[in-house]
């Protein structure tokens, strides 16, 4: 007997030792529960048992069971919870404790064959219940069984309490991790403000992170459109943006804007936007930067493991913080986009214009130059940027003077047709210097505009040999006038011819002939240009001048006559000088006619002459042939138009080749 008691004691001790191992080794509460229950029932030789955990809502759930079906009816257990504290960690005999266990509960417990109930209390908190069935073979529980149950239930209570603590710690840890994730998300978005400048990339980043961090099922970012009340979805996530047409005039958006605060919409709210979006749980926040509402962020359906639920005020606070950060980032990105666009536009304009543009800072150093500027200066960007204008234009003191003048007088200074040695000996430019002013009219530097007019200058110089400056300018102003083709117009033609020059030149040396003609033509052409005549051609010693082409004016004929009179006067002076040099005088006859001609650029693209042709021209030449030395003959049409201005003498009509009738002619009196 002694041996039996000793053996039983050893058995109990080994069971308790095993209990320690179960509690230490098992890492999960389910394993602890099943281990403790197995050990308890085995130690006290009970047929069945279960451990119940008290859940939220005062309901019990199975932690472990042995012989008691999990589907057993435990509905009446909850009724005794308020009274259990009185029986804190005591062993309640289901059949003897009548105050606590009423008949109906007793019946339920009898069905599942539970004999002993032990409420597992930690301090005042009920954690669960340990239920023990009858002992094997109808034996009764002994005092040692009771002590063992006490020890085991105490340890089980501690284990459950520890588990609850661990759960709470894990739950807190998860909360902390989620908070950390929220902070990281906010931090990442604040980083994005300075690093991501692409609006699409930025808005997607913000939206995706917001959806993820708030466990939303989908979301979208809407931007206001200046010309349209429909909000534009700029980024969407899991949302079909094509079907989404939302007006900024919806009441909910107006309210958000007015109150400057987001909103949470729940199932029962049934607002128009919920109906329109066919979604019940929404959270909407404004995107506000610099006091302006740029748009809205809408997230939909907060996910949980149990399904969808409404967003809460903490979600609203978080999304508001994300939206505020995002709005600043988007505003920055938009600003950057606008500035870049403006910069590109300016660069594109500057690079496409033919005028060289150079900007100089307050220190006189070049800080930008466009393509045309580099081309005109025949240099590379690296040779110019950062260089002082004094060095850059050292070969052109006039340019330096102009820059200094503009800087000193704070006004636009320009020069045209100036030689630009910085580029080359031949380069001619129009140079303009303008002060670059800041917001408060302070000088930030200077802008130099350099227009290369070398080619124009060459053309002008060449052209000027044939036509007056006025005609050159007019032609250069309108390229169309240089087209091949012609037009009928009324002009006055003037012909001059040196009388007897052929026979005279035969007695002269060739170089003397050329120098005499050059001297003569130089004087005559000056007079032609004085009266804006167009030098049509020089044929030998003959000169053909047109008035009224390519440009015409009312006094074409008057100017032709004045030209002729001045020419004859100039020849007189010319001859006096020749006589002094003991050279033979020359005498010129001049003929003037007016009438319709065909004028235009006649020839090929490579060799083109502006001239006039027609009977009017031929008659002008005949009148010149008819005129004697120092004489000016005009047709009756010219006389008719100018008889009030000049003194004429009517001459006998002459027969002209190609004309059946004689032509009336007049001679200018001295």
């Amino acid at each position: 007997m002694e041996t039996d008691e000793k053996g039983q004691l050893n058995y109990y001790l080994s069971s308790l030792s095993e209990l320690g191992e179960v509690l230490i080794d098992a890492d999960k509460i389910n394993k602890i529960g099943s281990g403790v229950l197995r050990l308890t029932l085995g130690t006290i030789m009970a047929s069945k048992g279960a451990i119940f955990l008290l859940k939220k809502g005062n309901e019990f759930s199975f932690l472990a069971t042995q012989g008691i079906p999990k589907e057993s009816n435990l509905s009446l257990f909850s009724n005794i919870i308020p009274k259990l504290e009185k029986f804190k960690n005591k062993q309640i005999d289901v059949f003897l404790e009548k105050e606590l266990i009423k008949e109906d509960l007793k019946k339920q417990l009898k069905e599942i064959k539970v004999k002993i109930l032990i409420p597992l209390f930690h301090d005042k908190h009920l954690l669960g219940l340990l239920c023990i069935g009858n002992k094997f073979m109808g034996q009764t529980f002994t005092g040692v069984d009771s002590k063992v149950l006490n020890i085991i239930s105490n340890h089980l209570t501690k284990a459950l309490y520890n588990n609850q603590l661990i759960k709470e710690v894990e739950s807190k840890e998860k909360e902390v991790k989620l908070k950390l994730l929220e902070l990281e998300t906010l931090f990442d978005i604040s980083l994005a403000i300075s690093s991501v400048l692409d609006i699409k990339e930025l808005t997607e980043e913000v939206l995706w992170r917001s959806v993820g961090i708030l466990n939303a099922s989908k979301g979208m970012l809407l931007f206001k459109n200046n010309h349209n009340p429909i909000l534009k979805p700029i980024a969407t996530f899991n949302w079909d943006d094509e079907k989404t047409l939302l007006s900024k005039n919806l009441k909910v958006f107006k309210e958000i804007k007015e109150k400057n605060r987001g909103i949470v919409l729940k199932t029962n709210d049934e607002t128009p936007i919920q109906v329109k979006l066919k979604e019940k749980n929404l959270i909407i926040t404004p995107l506000q930067a610099k006091g302006k509402t740029l748009g809205f962020m809408i997230l939909c359906n907060k996910e949980t493991r149990k399904g969808i639920e409404a967003f809460n005020p903490l979600d609203l606070d978080l999304l508001t913080a994300l939206s505020n950060q995002a709005a600043v980032a988007i505003d920055n990105a938009t600003l950057f986009k606008d500035v870049t666009k403006a910069k590109k536009f300016n660069e594109s304009v500057l690079s496409s214009i033919a005028t060289g543009v150079v900007t100089i800072n307050r220190l006189g150093e070049v800080d930008s130059i466009n393509k045309a500027g580099l081309k005109i200066m025949k240099t590379k960007k690296e040779n110019v940027i950062g260089n002082h204008f004094m060095f850059l234009f050292e070969k052109d003191p006039s340019v330096i003077g102009l820059i200094e003048k503009a800087e000193k007088e704070n006004k636009i200074c320009s020069e045209i047709n100036i030689s630009f040695i910085t580029s080359s000996q031949e380069t001619v430019v129009n140079f303009s210097v303008s002060p670059r002013l800041g917001k408060n009219e302070e000088i930030l530097g200077l802008v130099l505009a350099i227009e290369d007019v070398t080619d124009v200058s060459k053309v002008k110089n060449t052209f000027k040999r044939y036509v007056s400056k006025q005609v050159v300018d007019e032609l250069l102003d309108d390229d169309a006038k240089l087209n091949l083709g012609g037009e009928e117009r009324e002009v006055t033609v003037l012909f001059t011819d040196i009388r007897g020059f052929t026979s005279m030149s035969e007695k002269m040396k060739p170089e003397k002939v050329v120098s005499t003609l050059n001297e003569y033509f130089s004087l005559m052409i000056d007079i032609v240009f004085k009266y804006n005549g167009t030098l049509d051609k020089i044929i030998g010693d003959e000169l053909m001048v047109v008035y009224g082409a390519p440009t015409s004016s009312k006094d074409d004929t008057e100017r032709a006559l004045k030209t002729a009179i001045d020419m004859q006067e100039e020849i007189k002076t010319f001859n006096k000088n020749r006589l002094k040099k003991k050279e033979n005088p020359i005498y010129v006859g001049i003929g003037i006619n007016r009438g319709l001609v065909v004028s235009g650029n006649i020839g090929s693209r490579e060799m083109m002459d502006y001239t006039v042709i027609g009977d009017t021209v031929n008659l002008g030449a005949r009148l010149c042939s008819a005129a004697g030395p120092n004489e000016i003959y005009v047709s009756d049409y010219v006389w008719e138009n100018t008889k009030g201005l000049f003194n004429y003498k009517k001459l006998a009509p002459i027969k002209v080749k190609g004309k059946s009738k004689k032509i009336g002619i007049y001679k200018i009196k001295n």
Binding site: K174, K177, L178, L180, L181, E184, D188, W208, R209, V211, G212, I213, L214, N215, A216, S217, F237, N238, E303, T304, R305
Partner: protein, 114 residues
């Protein structure tokens, strides 16, 4: 980004699940369905190719944690590759990477799982 979908392929004993879309409740459940089906067939090495899943939420993460716990019971492993920086950061913060591995290519991932 459209609805969640996945493709499953096997490289030896490793089951590779390539996902596409939001790794949320729906996405996580779809992944767990595949994993549990394959675990019943005796598979215990799983790789997630998350190249086309740029967004993950905490529900998706908690489902992955459940999968990891179940795999631990059968000495299995879960690994990931092609993670977007946001997803990798989320996994790190939520503690997933303590119990599962992140790789940077499929080849490296398969080698790392064996």
């Amino acid at each position: 980004m459209s609805d969640f979908s996945l493709e499953v392929k096997k490289e030896g004993s490793v089951v590779i699940i390539k996902t596409s879309g939001y790794l949320n409740n729906v996405g996580g459940e779809k992944i767990s369905e595949v994993c549990y089906e394959e675990m019943e067939k005796g598979k215990n090495l799983f790789l997630l190719d998350l190249e086309n899943s740029k967004v993950v939420n905490s529900i998706g993460v908690s489902i992955l944690i459940e999968i990891i716990e179940k795999l631990q019971d059968v000495d299995g492993k879960l690994g990931y590759y092609n993670l977007a920086p946001i997803v990798e950061k989320t996994f790190n913060i939520m503690g997933l990477t303590k119990y599962s591995s992140v790789f940077y290519s499929e080849e490296e991932a398969i080698k790392g799982m064996l």
